[in-house]
Every structure is written in structure tokens, then in C-alpha cells.
């Protein structure tokens, strides 16, 4: 731009491009496109190491489950266990209805929300796994349901929105 903007462009002279400076500045990263939610490769793990493991914590109490998830994340950081991701699963809402003593109508009792947080770790060694489990169990708060399992594609797919139109079309095609 500096070359075309100024009217003194003597391309044959040795002073051509004398005002250039952009090559001296550090390279800017290209504009970020919308980050696509792609599934990262699932590690299967070797004989002495577990691959991707999901620690799922479920509870009706939001603050409790959040704090417990943070505690588990920090514990893994402190024990130098690699944490892939730490995300939240969508909340489920339940309506609890109960039948009145004398009557046929269902009465609304309460609306409960179930919250779930997931901490995904990788490279857990087989000797250290029972110790980690023991520590997490001993500090498990009330009402928080703990579940540890291997990470699968189905787990990842459950986080995504359903696409009924696509599925319909696929069914029609085949």
C-alpha cells in the first residue's frame, strides 16, 4: 500500500520500497472463523493408562455441583493429571406431581432442576486411578451423584442439538 499510495514509485531505482515497515512488525493471526464444534479424537489408552475418562457429577443443587467440579478440576491440576475439558451438560427439568389424598386430580408438588458437570481427563495411570477415586469419594458432598466412565462418541453427541430435518431426509434417501 505504501508503494502504490505514494506517487514516488521508482521501481528501477535502488530506493524502491524505502518506506516499507510492515515486514518488521510481528505477524498478526488471521481472523478467527466461527469455531466449529468438532469432536476431538477419543484416546483409547494403553495397557498401563486409561484413555479419556469422564467424571460426571449430577445433583439437584447447582452451587454444590459447581463447587465440587471446580474442586475436582483443581485436584487434577495439582496432581498433574491432564484435563482435556471441563464442561456442563444441559440442565434437565422435572415436574413432580402427586395425587391428593381424596381426589383424582394430580397436584403440582415441585419443579426440580438436575444439573450435571463433566471433567474429562486423559492419561490416568492404572496404579493411581484407585487413589484418585478414593480421594474424590472421601470429599463427595451430600446429594451429588458421582459417575466415572470412558468417553464415547455417544457422550459427545448427547451435547449437540438434534437435527430432525436432516434425519428425515437421510431416512428418505436410504
Amino acid at each position: 500500500d505504501a508503494l502504490l499510495g505514494c506517487h514516488r514509485s521508482y521501481r528501477s531505482r535502488p530506493t524502491h520500497g524505502i518506506g516499507k515497515f510492515k515486514y518488521l512488525l510481528p505477524k498478526e493471526a488471521p481472523k478467527k472463523r466461527k469455531e466449529r464444534v468438532q469432536m476431538k479424537e477419543i484416546d483409547a489408552g494403553t495397557e498401563h493408562q486409561y484413555g479419556d475418562v469422564n467424571i460426571q457429577m449430577t445433583s439437584y443443587d447447582l452451587c454444590l455441583v459447581e463447587h465440587f467440579a471446580q474442586y475436582v478440576h483443581r485436584l487434577c491440576n495439582r496432581l498433574s493429571i491432564r484435563v482435556n475439558e471441563s464442561y456442563a451438560m444441559p440442565t434437565k427439568t422435572d415436574e413432580v406431581l402427586f395425587m391428593e389424598d381424596r381426589g383424582s386430580k394430580m397436584q403440582l408438588d415441585a419443579v426440580l432442576t438436575t444439573h450435571q458437570r463433566v471433567v474429562q481427563i486423559r492419561g490416568l495411570s492404572s496404579t493411581f486411578a484407585p487413589i484418585l477415586l478414593e480421594i474424590i469419594q472421601s470429599s463427595q458432598p451430600e446429594g451429588v451423584h458421582l459417575l466415572m466412565k470412558q468417553h464415547t462418541e455417544a457422550d459427545f453427541k448427547s451435547r449437540l442439538k438434534s437435527r430432525p430435518e436432516l434425519e428425515e431426509l437421510l431416512a428418505e434417501m436410504s
Partner: protein
């Protein structure tokens, strides 16, 4: 006996079918191009009613004794938490050390058993455990009849 008319019908049908198929394929390509989106999590979206209201809480002024009591309580709590954390670290260390010692002894005993012990346990996952409850369930309690209805909002792309 072959007539001209049914043949025309077949041609038109085939063309129409091909056109329909192409349209469907184009639609499919368009839908597949769009990347799948994550379901938005309702926990992280503050409902509007908490941000619109102008209610502001005015707290009463604290007396000096009260504030001092609170500061001392905070210090005691910090100390308690530190002791708890140190005990946890000590427990982890002790567990790891005893495990390593046991594995060393096992190695001296037999290599085969040592190899089998080092290998990962397939039966460990999936592991499930419900948290302890404030009150255990009452024996002989007759709950009223009712049902649970799932009213989670379903998001479609």
C-alpha cells in the same frame, strides 16, 4: 399391444423423480454444511427478571465488635481449611508411598504378578456412587402416589 401414452407417462415420471432426488440431495448438502451446535445451557443464562429490577439492598452498618468477630472467624476458618488441605495431601502421599512399596515387594516376589498388577483394570469403569444424604430414608414410609414429568426444553437445529 404397446401404446404411446403409457410410455410418455413413464418418461415424465422418471424425470420428475430424478428432479425430486436432485432437490433432496441439494437440501441434504445444505443441511450437512451447517456445523452441529451445542445445546445452550440454561444455568449460564441469567433470567431477565434479575437484571431488570431496581431493587437494591441496603445493608446495616456493622459495629466494630461485629467486624472484629467476623475477621477472627475468617482467620479460624482459613486455618481449619489449611489443616484439612494438608491432611489430604499427606493422605495422598501416604497412599502413593505404600502402593509403591507394595509393588516393589511384589516385584521381588514374582515378575508375573507384578505385570498383572500394573495392568489397567477393565472392571473399574464405569464407576457409580451416590453421595451421602443428610437423612437416610425412613423405614416403613408410605409415599403418596404421583409421577415425574420431564419438561426439559428440546432444542432443534
Amino acid at each position: 399391444p404397446c401404446r404411446a401414452q403409457p410410455k410418455k407417462k413413464k418418461k415424465v415420471d422418471v424425470k420428475k423423480e430424478q428432479a425430486q432426488k436432485e432437490r433432496m440431495k441439494k437440501k441434504l448438502k445444505k443441511l450437512e454444511k451447517a456445523p452441529p451446535e451445542l445445546i445452550p445451557i440454561e444455568d449460564f443464562i441469567t433470567p431477565l427478571k434479575y437484571s431488570e429490577s431496581n431493587r437494591v439492598r441496603s445493608l446495616p452498618a456493622l459495629s466494630s465488635e461485629e467486624s472484629e468477630r467476623r475477621v477472627l472467624l475468617l482467620k479460624k476458618w482459613c486455618l481449619f481449611k489449611q489443616k484439612q488441605d494438608e491432611a489430604e495431601k499427606k493422605a495422598i502421599k501416604a497412599l502413593v508411598e505404600s502402593q509403591q512399596e507394595a509393588l516393589k515387594e511384589l516385584r521381588l516376589e514374582s515378575e508375573e504378578l507384578f505385570e498383572a498388577a500394573i495392568r489397567r483394570d477393565e472392571g473399574l469403569f464405569p464407576f457409580e456412587r451416590a453421595g451421602p444424604s443428610y437423612t437416610p430414608p425412613l423405614p416403613g414410609y408410605d409415599p403418596p402416589e404421583g409421577k415425574c414429568v420431564d419438561i426439559t426444553r428440546v432444542y432443534t437445529q
